[in-house]
């Protein structure tokens, strides 16, 4: 299939597919006479792997590492585990930050009695302090 079809099937934009290829996350596709990229089902699976990793917010660099690991099936999977754990730590850290942030925003929003002027606005006051 050509890139347009791969794009529709996978849900990744054409630009993104080409970008992943340049970053070395997808193997170089065959080319047609007219230099169009031609993809197999295997290529679709590669792309879906990347997409799944991205949906977990794994960085492109880490995905590259995972792909390399995937290609060494006999090695220990402890490094894979390590990478996932780190990703989990990152997510936990972000969640904590977001919670704190949510609390302050909620509190701020509650101090705004909408029929007020900016001069007396509780939100601006708390941002100012």
């Amino acid at each position: 299939m050509k890139i347009g079809e791969l794009s529709k099937t996978s849900g990744c934009s054409i630009q993104t597919i080409r970008y992943y290829e340049r970053q070395g996350l997808l193997s170089d596709p065959e080319r047609s006479e007219g230099n169009f990229r031609l993809y197999s089902n295997k290529a679709l699976k590669e792309l879906e792997f990347v997409k799944h990793c991205r949906s977990l917010d794994i960085s492109l660099d880490d995905i590259k590492r995972l792909i390399e690991l995937k290609n060494k099936p006999e090695e220990s999977c402890s490094s894979v585990n390590e990478l996932i754990k780190q990703q989990l730590n990152l997510v936990n850290k972000r969640m904590k930050e977001l919670k704190a942030l949510k609390n302050e925003l909620q509190h701020m929003a509650s101090t705004c009695n909408s029929d007020n002027t900016i001069e007396g606005c509780g939100i601006i006051k708390s941002l100012d302090s």
Copy 2:
């Protein structure tokens, strides 16, 4: 005070202060004979306002809007309220995404029995599906 002192007092890097100035978030400071930026306490407060907004992950564009609103003390504060509510929505949305993400990562991590090879690794398997 000069930019180095403002940087230490505020906790923003010198580069960031100059960046905020270029983006129009801080008023243009006085300059010394030798063209060094000179800041007053008012400037420090401006910077702290920006910093506080940033700690709530409000975008520079939205901070600019808040500053403009701040300078119209007699207007209604409903637009301020609106902006904060939108920010809260954004944060809530991100939290939901993060929770889903955390769940999948946790589940994946639990399928890895560390003494395995990559070939039999539950993590790689679930990323592949």
